[in-house]
């Protein structure tokens, strides 16, 4: 197993380098001169501009600039400084915490609702409730985050408070601690809830048709025990891996949710940095997201082997 993990990590190096180079090249081509932007309305002193351009390696070709950047990240864990001389790592630290909180809240909500609904649908397969759950997954997939975000913010954040006086869901910001993440977490999880429900239903329905389930039933075990111990445990394998892989997707896809609920996470930061042309911040955020994606997928593959003893990696 150890050798497998090391091999996978080595294999992911070209992916990491390729993805960061791609992002670096796109950001490199961002229109406008960041140094000129730094000076604002006034024309900057050409000598100072020359010094700054030299200091930030702006006169070097793309690949050399990339090398300066990526070698700093790899060898010194140094994500550089912005053109306003603030370390990028300092800008990113707090923001990643917010997005991680959001993604984990979404993941928990997703696991609870998705597995719950899927289990219910699989046990009542073909009945009216099964059809209803399937139809609601269709709705969940179809309503874009953009829509569900605003609508839920309006109904649960604003109207609920007006109608019932209950202040459960703050509509913006993270000042309310855990509660601040509930509504955005649900909105972010939306589409994933639907996929997980469908996956649970298919996976469990398939497992319940297996021979060992018939054996367990024939032994006279109560239905509840057959489903929980023999069915669900085996059906769980694809679900856990789905959830693991989804963490990276949720963090990378949080920008719309963060904009709607005004959460100071990395999506929001990236959005602003793109407009402020803070190139090092943009590249830094995407680099870490790519890293999270790679590690999450590796963790999923390892989890597969742990959960299913039939799978062996050499």
């Amino acid at each position: 197993m150890g050798r497998y993990i090391i091999r996978r990590l080595l294999q992911s190096i070209p992916v990491l380098l390729g993805a960061t180079l791609l992002i670096f090249a796109i950001v490199f081509a961002l229109p406008g001169d960041p140094i000129a932007a730094l000076a604002g309305e006034k024309r900057a002193d050409p000598n100072i501009v020359a010094i700054l351009r030299e200091q930030y390696h702006l006169n070097d070709p793309l690949l050399l600039q990339y090398w300066y950047y990526i070698s700093g990240v790899i060898f010194r864990a140094d994500f550089g400084v912005t053109f306003a001389d603030v370390p990028v790592s300092q800008i990113m630290a707090g923001k990643f915490q917010v997005t991680l909180n959001l993604a984990i809240t979404a993941l928990v909500i997703e696991a609870l609702i998705g597995v719950g609904l899927g289990l219910w649908a699989a046990l009542k397969r073909g009945k009216a409730i099964d059809t209803m759950i399937l139809a609601s997954t269709l709705l969940l997939i179809s309503v874009p985050t953009l829509v569900s975000g605003f609508v839920l913010q309006f109904l649960l954040g604003v109207r609920l408070k007006l109608w019932t006086g209950l202040d459960i869901f703050p509509i913006a910001g993270i000042t309310e601690g855990f509660r601040s993440y509930l509504l955005p977490g649900f909105v972010l999880a939306g589409v994933s809830i639907a996929y997980l429900t469908r996956l649970t239903r298919t996976s469990l329905a398939e497992t319940l048709r297996a021979d060992y389930i018939r054996t367990a039933t024939a032994k006279g075990l109560p239905r509840r025990r057959v489903v929980a111990r023999h069915g669900l445990r085996n059906a769980l394998i694809p679900l856990v891996t789905f959830l693991g892989a989804d963490l990276g997707n949720l963090m990378g896809g949080a920008v719309i949710t963060e904009r709607i609920f005004n959460l100071p996470g990395i999506g929001n930061q990236l959005f602003m940095s793109v407009y402020l042309r803070e190139q090092p911040v943009v590249v830094g955020i995407v680099t870490i997201l790519v890293l999270i994606y790679i590690l999450a997928n590796l963790a999923v593959d390892v989890m597969y082997a742990v959960l299913d003893p039939r799978i062996r990696y050499e």
Binding site: L146, G253, F271
Partner: protein, 314 residues
């Protein structure tokens, strides 16, 4: 999947029980996967409903003046004094933040959503499909290189990647085609994976070996024998993705890097309306509902097509 043959008829096994006399002629008629699927699709209410919705949307996109006598591109139809007015005669949806007719704008917004969604799907399917076909057929080094490249694109969070591409080339003057390009660049790897897997499965089957033994060249094998067999899963994935691309367009327009004013897009309308959402929710609700229904229609279509083309999943 032994019942799928390249483009040709499925020959009934000789042992089949003698068909009932009145059905004799029908049984002799060749039934391919596609005609089977079509036969199956015509009986599905979900397929019919989604096709009807898409037909109405297509009519809206092609001929918007059929639905609305107000021309939303004519600034004279807007009256700032009537901004955010509720529904009234002649203005069934009311007016937006600038006093423009909401109904006309919502109708005219369909065109960009459909054009972007459909073109992105077609381009992503063509590029991903062709690369997948080549990688799957030739295998070895070609396959390794192509697969590594797709991993790079998979690792970049798509909405953030599209945000970067959109903001970098915002001044390129490509208009909506920039959105199509950005979404295609980040969307093609999905088709690639599906196509590659399907081609690899089909490649080792007897009829391909037979074709090769008969002296068929690589191009003929790829396009005459492998492509028709690998097409079904690609079409399924493409239809399901179409709804996702439409939602992504709205998200990008909301972030300011998609469709640019004075063009009309539901995402832009949502971005405009959200500033005054709490006092005037209707300008946000109407484009949001149209957007959701459009995405729903394509997701339902994709679900129906998948069930028809891949009976195993049922």
């Amino acid at each position: 999947m032994s019942d799928i043959r390249p483009g040709g008829p499925v020959i009934a096994p000789e042992e089949t029980p003698v068909p009932k006399p009145q059905k004799k002629e029908k049984a002799a008629k060749p039934a391919s996967l596609w005609s089977d699927a079509w036969h199956d699709l015509r009986r599905r209410p979900i397929f019919i409903i989604s096709l009807c919705i898409i037909a109405v949307l297509a009519l809206m996109a092609l001929w918007p003046s059929l639905f609305s006598s107000v021309d939303p591109f004519n600034a004279r139809t807007c009256e700032l004094a009537t901004a955010r007015q509720g529904p009234s005669t002649g203005h069934p949806f009311g007016r937006d933040n600038l006093g423009c007719d909401l109904y006309a704008r919502t109708i005219y917004g369909a065109a960009n959503s459909l054009v972007i969604g459909i073109s992105t799907t077609v381009f992503a399917a063509l590029i991903g499909g062709l690369m997948g076909l080549i990688a799957g057929f030739f295998g070895g080094g070609v396959d390794s290189v192509a697969s590594r490249i797709t991993e790079i694109f998979f690792a970049i969070p798509s909405i953030l990647g599209a945000l970067l591409i959109g903001s970098t080339f915002r001044d390129s003057g490509w208009g909506i085609w920039l959105v199509v390009a950005a979404l295609t660049i980040l969307g093609w790897p999905m088709t690639f994976r599906i196509m590659r897997a399907a081609v690899i499965t089909a490649k080792s089957q007897d009829f391909v070996v037979a074709a090769r033994a008969l002296g068929a060249g690589p191009v003929r094998i790829m396009f005459r024998h492998l492509l028709p067999n690998a097409l079904a899963p690609v079409i399924v994935v493409a239809t399901i993705n179409l709804g996702g691309f439409i939602a992504a367009e709205a998200a990008l327009s909301y972030l300011g890097v998609g469709v640019q004013p004075p063009e009309i897009s539901w995402g832009l309308m949502i971005a405009d309306a959200q500033r005054r959402f709490l006092e005037a929710p209707l300008p946000l609700i109407f484009p949001a509902v149209f957007l959701s229904i459009t995405v729903l229609a394509f997701i339902m279509l994709g679900d129906a097509v998948r069930d028809a083309l891949d009976p195993k999943l049922r």
